[in-house]
């Protein structure tokens, strides 16, 4: 008796559910085909986002005119140490145009290979030799980007940080200026923090 009532109820439930979802799905198809691409932005992988940030950094920084241009019309974005981007640089920014130049990605194993890099992302895996590395790059026209806590203190130029779930960055203006890199005012304004240099906020 109970079993019978039970299975009847199940059948009714299932029928109702199926009917409900069919209607809802039908409406969804209509909605989607009718309204075009109203795509609510969900979250993005952290390093995919940081790859896009690197692209914007490259756009908003000017290198001195006498920067050696080994690669002709290329702008080299290099990573040093273990690459946290795991292919996102290639997916997101490789081949993109910045002015007349094309962005190229290089993954470096050794600090000796940094010649020719315009932007150098230094992974946290280089933590131990970070200070030496940055000291060797001092005054070289390479935009150094990192994530280590004391990256700016050690002479790095831009440091990524997270605020909640959003990507932020800090700028060491003095380090950039001594390497004769010109960081656009837009980038300085958007920075969470600007240290060193004249007029730092």
């Amino acid at each position: 008796m109970i079993r019978k009532a039970n299975s009847g109820l199940f059948a009714a439930m299932r029928a109702n559910l199926l009917a409900l979802w069919s209607v809802v799905l039908f409406a969804a198809v209509f909605h989607a085909t009718g309204s075009g691409t109203v795509w609510a932005q969900s979250t993005v992988d952290e390093y995919r986002m940081k790859a896009a940030f690197l692209f914007h950094f490259a756009q908003l920084v000017e290198w001195p005119a006498d920067t050696p241009a080994d690669g002709g019309n290329s702008l080299f974005l290099c990573t040093l140490g273990e690459d946290p981007f795991r292919g996102e640089l290639e997916n997101t920014v490789e081949g993109k145009q910045i002015g007349s130049r094309t962005l190229r990605i290089r993954h470096l194993k050794s600090p000796q290979d940094t010649r020719g890099c315009h932007v150098l992302f230094i992974s946290n895996s280089e933590d131990k030799r970070m200070a030496v590395l940055l000291a060797n790059l001092r005054n070289a026209p390479v935009l150094t980007v990192g994530e280590a806590d004391d990256f700016l203190g050690a002479g790095g130029m831009i440091r990524f940080c997270l605020e909640g779930n959003k990507v932020r960055f800090e700028i060491n203006r003095e380090a950039a200026e001594s390497a004769r890199l010109r960081i656009s005012s837009q980038l300085l304004l958007l920075a969470k923090n600007v240290v060193g240099g004249n007029g730092g906020k």
Partner: protein
């Protein structure tokens, strides 16, 4: 190190089979990967370089690193089931998701019921495990356990599930004896826009969610959702209809608002109603004495409303106040219960000087229950209100900043059954380098009595007696029931061996005292219900003690960029002993042989070219010798095609290796077990 781990696992023949299968699978996957190198996937994601920097700064990112960072300093055995893990899993409910956590024992009883525990003592009402959903406890104060069939958090709404193995009582409170499972749902701002899913399958017959999220002005976001599902029945052990179909409908909402730069407020609630069929073995008639298993329909419903206010006092201090109300009712005719719970929880986090980081708080909970007296189950008194007061303080001391942290804390709790209890812990974490971390902890935790330990009577079975007098075997609660106590020593090591391989290992030793036993009482005559019969009583008592020890290992290996493997293994032994006064000859053995010695799992995730992804997971569970349940291996797989970011189709198969298998046959469980069937489903998801 990995080879070593594999060798350990291979001492068990059945696991070797799994690894054998995976060796084949691995080579197939590897060739697929090689073949796919020419093709190029991931063309559908929007081009972020076309979005200006200001807008990029407003998009939230999912940060694996941040979680790992936070995790890497935690001096406890923590496993986090992430959104990715959930998406890659074939599981359609929380219990099946928990199978991926080493050290968690998940045994399905029938279509809707599970026995879930951490580090042993498994049962339908595992009472040494605390389960929270967004900070709301779903541990029943009436039956001391979790009704998993009523905990329907749509997987699409889950941000993560944090599983803490070992005592978490100092911060989380009573009953977090062997672990805490904390389900955390996404913020409303992370579920903006619409989502519709529809699944159809052989076991998970129909299910889906309709969800929409939007904004109130610029500082508040909301979501509303409705979901439901219907699971088909499984066969019973004899192959007949197990009468255990299961369905739920639920609706809910969540609002997150930033009231000011320092204040954020969350309000959320949901209401559900469901049915779960079951076969209940019980006394059919006292005279003539007949016991039998009859089909019943367990109906349950509930609703809850929770609000939380976080206030940032200063960069070094934060407070939160949480208040909730929860109502749940259920019954199948052989029992009927309802519980109202009101809970207030305050916490403050405050840095003091350079080296101290305090968390302290206080909580008050009042639970009021109503029960229906049936011929099978009754409570005396039938209705009762109990209160719980607690306060805790924990200080994290930077002994060597960024290297060595020492956490000292205790919780003082007062409950109506056993009065005051103290639950202290001391934990130390030692970060050897960016890639290596060691931790150790000693702690004490208590399982406090519930109404089922103190006030229940279950008429368990009837036997023919001398002179035609029926003998009614009844289990009685014990008003003098004490806390079950555990003292734990544990230690763990986490390492990121390379950028592609990480490993997390824990060993533990638990010492239990005042464990529950079932003691015989003096038989007495009873006239009601008629006819006259002799009651053979058995009482709960705290006359057992014992030790457990074990090992839990989990690893993540990103074999190539598109393929990752997550192996895990756990080992557990339980030794229980009777106290001198105990006459209980069975409970110790039933507990010792009711949890598997060995469990192992391997999960694989592959991103295939052309917007496909393929996941497989295999779970080996050792035999339960006290229950006659043989060891088994589950194999689940799913294939997902996501042609556009807003649309995906998944087909999945579960329990592929065998047509059906048994996972649990516990003693004293009045629910008859079902055979867990091989099943398949398809699911589409649409975002708009």
């Amino acid at each position: 190190m990995f080879e070593r781990q594999e060798r350990d696992i291979r001492s068990d023949g059945a696991v070797r089979l799994v690894f054998g299968r995976y060796a084949i699978l691995g080579s197939v996957l590897f060739f697929l990967f090689l073949a796919s190198q020419g093709a190029h996937g991931q063309a559908t994601q929007p081009d972020l370089t076309k979005v200006n920097l200001e807008d990029l700064m407003n998009i939230e990112v999912t940060s694996v690193a941040k979680k790992e960072q936070r995790l890497s300093r935690t001096a406890a055995a923590v496993f986090v089931i992430t959104q990715n893990d959930i998406q890659h899993s074939s599981a359609t409910n929380i219990p099946d998701l928990l199978r991926m956590v080493p050290g968690v024992d998940v045994a399905q009883i029938n279509a809707s019921k599970w026995a879930i525990s951490i580090r042993g003592f498994n049962g339908q009402y595992s009472n040494k495990l605390l389960v929270l959903i967004d900070g709301r406890t779903v541990y029943s104060p009436l039956l001391s356990g979790v009704f998993w069939d009523a905990q329907d958090v749509p997987l699409e709404n889950i941000d993560r599930i944090e599983v803490i193995r070992g005592p978490g009582a100092t911060v989380w409170g009573a009953n977090a004896v062997d672990g805490v499972i904390s389900v955390i749902t996404k913020k409303a701002s992370d579920t903006q826009g619409g989502l519709l899913t529809q699944g159809v399958g052989t076991s998970d017959q129909a299910g889906g969610i309709a969800r929409y999220g939007g904004k109130f002005g610029s500082n508040a976001a909301y979501r509303v959702f409705a979901d439901g599902f219907a699971y088909n029945h499984f066969p019973d052990v004899a192959g007949r209809n197990g009468n255990d179909g299961w369905n739920i409908v639920q609706g809910g909402f969540r609002v997150d608002a930033n009231a000011s730069a320092q204040d954020s407020i969350t309000v959320e609630g949901d209401a559900h109603s469901g049915n779960a069929g079951e076969m209940v073995s019980s006394v059919v008639s006292i005279f003539p004495p007949v016991n039998g298993a009859l089909p019943f329909n367990d109906r349950f419903s509930g609703w809850n409303l929770l609000s939380r206010w976080n206030h940032v006092v200063s960069p070094h201090s934060e407070t939160s106040l949480q208040v909730y109300f929860d109502r749940s009712t259920r019954g199948d005719g052989t029992y009927g219960i309802g519980v109202n719970t009101f809970d207030v929880d305050f916490q403050q986090h405050v840095g003091w000087g350079e080296r101290h980081d305090f968390v302290w708080g206080g909580a008050y909970r009042v639970s009021s229950d109503q029960t229906v007296t049936t011929p099978r189950i009754s409570f005396n008194p039938a209705s009762r209100t109990t209160q719980l007061f607690s306060c805790f303080v924990q200080d994290e001391i930077a002994v060597l900043p960024d290297r060595v942290y020492l956490s000292l804390g205790f919780k003082l709790e007062h409950n109506d059954y056993t009065g005051f209890g103290l639950q202290p812990s001391a934990r130390i974490s030692w970060t050897l380098s960016n890639r290596n971390m060691f931790w150790a902890a000693v702690s004490q935790a208590e399982r406090t009595p519930a109404r089922s330990d103190t006030n229940i009577r279950v008429n368990y079975a009837v036997l023919p007696g001398p002179n035609g007098l029926p003998l009614l075997i009844s289990i009685f609660g014990n008003p003098g029931f004490k806390n079950e106590v555990v003292r734990t020593v544990e230690a763990g090591y986490r390492t990121q061996l390379t950028n592609r391989f990480s490993l997390d290992a824990t060993v533990f030793f638990n010492n239990y005292s005042d464990l529950v036993s079932l003691e015989p009482g003096t038989p007495f005559l009873e006239t009601r219900p008629p006819p006259l019969h002799v009651v053979i009583p058995r009482f709960f008592a705290n006359l057992e003690h014992g030790e457990t020890h074990g090992l839990e290992v989990s690893a993540n290996w990103r074999v190539v960029n598109r393929w990752s493997l997550s192996p895990g293994y756990s080992f557990l032994t339980i030794h229980l002993h009777r106290d001198a006064l105990s006459q209980d000859l069975t409970t110790a053995a039933e507990t010792e042989g009711g949890s598997p010695h060995h469990q192992a799992q391997l999960r694989s995730h592959v991103d295939l070219p052309g917007k496909w992804s393929w996941n497989m997971s295999a779970y080996f569970v050792g035999r339960l010798w006290a229950q006659g349940v043989p060891s088994y291996t589950r194999l689940d797989t799913n294939l997902t095609w996501q042609p556009a970011e807003r649309f995906s189709i998944t087909v999945a198969g579960e329990n592929l290796l065998k047509d059906h298998h048994l996972e649990y046959m516990g003693p004293y469980s009045s629910i008859l077990p079902s055979m867990i069937k091989r099943s398949a489903y398809a699911k589409i998801a649409w975002r708009f």
